[in-house]
Symmetry: none
Subunit: 198 residues, 4 copies
């Protein structure tokens, strides 16, 4: 039975609400225009309070990103964990991604910002991005070995697939009324699996 004192709960709540605020502000303003002041206001706390929970701006951004991408990774992992054939896995992953970004609309901008480091940020969040690519590459390699798909450079293919589908997922975030999720999933899966040639 986990022992969580009231303090821990409050602590966790604060951390979470500050990270949520950071996510929204970064989404609004972009990475480098997101000021601690605005994040504090968004979180409904004073500037100084943030520094009780995060060493500095860098740590806040990093942890905010990390928290979100960890959740995304978790969902993708779940989608990949079955023993289903590749095409079903692909659809499951696409569905997980669309679902995640639907629930975390703000994240997409943070995600874009942090793929490559910018300005003040010293530590890049690229490793997490890289890991995502490599995870997909591993899945593709397995499918190749099983003869489910053609043999080609799996990392290149993973890059193409992830970025291509991310673009559509992000586009959905920006659209007022995106088409049904299944439609986009089918489009991507169809293109990848069968190509577009008539």
């Amino acid at each position: 039975m986990p022992v969580r004192s009231k303090e821990d709960v409050v602590q966790e709540f604060r951390v979470q609400s500050i990270q949520d605020a950071a996510m929204r502000v970064i989404a609004r303003r972009g990475m480098s225009a997101a000021t601690m002041q605005e994040i504090a206001e968004e979180a409904g706390v004073a500037k100084g309070t943030i520094y009780l929970y995060f060493r500095d701006r860098e740590e806040l951004v990093e942890k905010t990103f990390d928290g979100a991408i960890t959740e995304l990774s978790g969902r993708i992992e779940t989608a990949l964990s079955s023993e289903a054939p590749f095409d079903q896995k692909l659809r499951a992953v696409l569905s997980a991604e669309i679902g995640f970004f639907r629930e975390h609309r703000e994240f997409f901008r943070l995600y874009i910002s942090l793929r490559r480091p910018e300005g003040r940020q010293k530590r890049t969040c690229e490793p997490r991005y890289r890991a995502r690519i490599e995870r997909m590459a591993a899945v593709l390699r397995q499918a190749m070995e099983r003869g489910e798909i053609r043999t080609m450079d799996p990392t290149r293919l993973a890059l193409f697939l992830i970025e291509g589908s991310d673009a559509i997922v992000i586009e959905r975030v920006l659209q007022e009324e995106p088409p049904p999720e299944q439609e986009d999933i089918d489009l991507i899966a169809g293109v990848i699996l069968e190509g577009i040639r008539q």
Copy 2:
């Protein structure tokens, strides 16, 4: 016939060298860490001089981006202008893109930064990005009408195709020794045209 005085030539030269400098500095430092001071030094002019040719930092960045993407668009347009079948056009476009980024390695970072506005930038450079998507969508639509490829949402497909292939092109920029261009072109064209199913 337009008369270009010596002043115009000098003007144009200055504008170009400042933009080139901006591109290199942004590539080095990232969008928000690129300072006017460093851009001026890179261009070999004084900080104040930049303001004779550009209203402010924002305009400089925007025009720098515009100049580069105009060239990229031009190359893509050339690749698309033939009456060749779709698969040849696709390969030509991919080749144009790879060539462009090979020659303008610095641009990729500016390109990434500006797809969505960031930080101080108020005006987005998205329209140019959007236009690129729409141009590709138009090509795809035409191919669909001609029965060369299956019918589906051309904008979605364009997004997927451009972002997916951009990711590979950018990866090439980051690699010390990227594989032969033809290899990546074949991979992308193969996936898109035929799919990956065995």
Copy 3:
């Protein structure tokens, strides 16, 4: 007979332990880098608790200083209270100072810091310092009147004597292995009483 309730005792204990903590922290960090947080931790109480016993940081520092210098004054007073001739009194005072700083190594830094007010401190602790000078001046004046020493400005002489000997006392605090106390006492007393001329 004054009645000291349990509350008074607790009160006094708290005040004393906070002051002791303040002294140690100031000694470690220096006057302006000594934070209330660190003093509280050193004292083993919460930050807020300090404010139950001291109006603000200023009062804490002042009273801390006052407590210590009161003890120093007491020892010096004891050394001066005899009817011994001046040279014996001088040696007794020097011995008292050296002993005090040996036992309160931390104090020297507070002492140095507060001779003249610094930073946030508005009220100077100079009066206590001044009083010490004047006390020595009175002793010197008496010795002059008794014909034990030459007649000269007693305050100037007191300044010279106290600061000169403080410097040596403080140097002792900083040294890993200071020479025997008697050696330094003899040096100072010898110089003052007989001069250094061969």
Copy 4:
């Protein structure tokens, strides 16, 4: 012939006036309460301007101190350079010190502040202080070797002499109408050379 462009002169003038301002503000407020804002105002420049000439606050303070103590050292060196007997040298040094602090009344506080590091300051200015002690110790050692003064620990004696006389010099700075300089010089020299015993 020294080549000093107009720029160099302006540069030097700015540096000097900012250092002078820093000296005055530190004298007024104390080391750690002296803000860059107030120093800038005192110097009649904008906050940012200081950073054109000094990397950061620390460098400003350090250089300000260094400039002043270099001048003090220079005067003392001149006073010590003659081949005069020790008592004349002693008087010359005392005279140099009194003169220096008369002309740089503000400096005394900076001097006091920096003998031992405080708060933000990382690099101590103690070496310069130490050097001054050692210089005096060397003079005293020479006088001992020549048989002009009694043999004793020269560093201890230097400490006692310098701090004792500094105290009087600083007292003079604080006094509205200090006594004639010769009087204080005679007092110190008399005490040191002959002692105070009747």
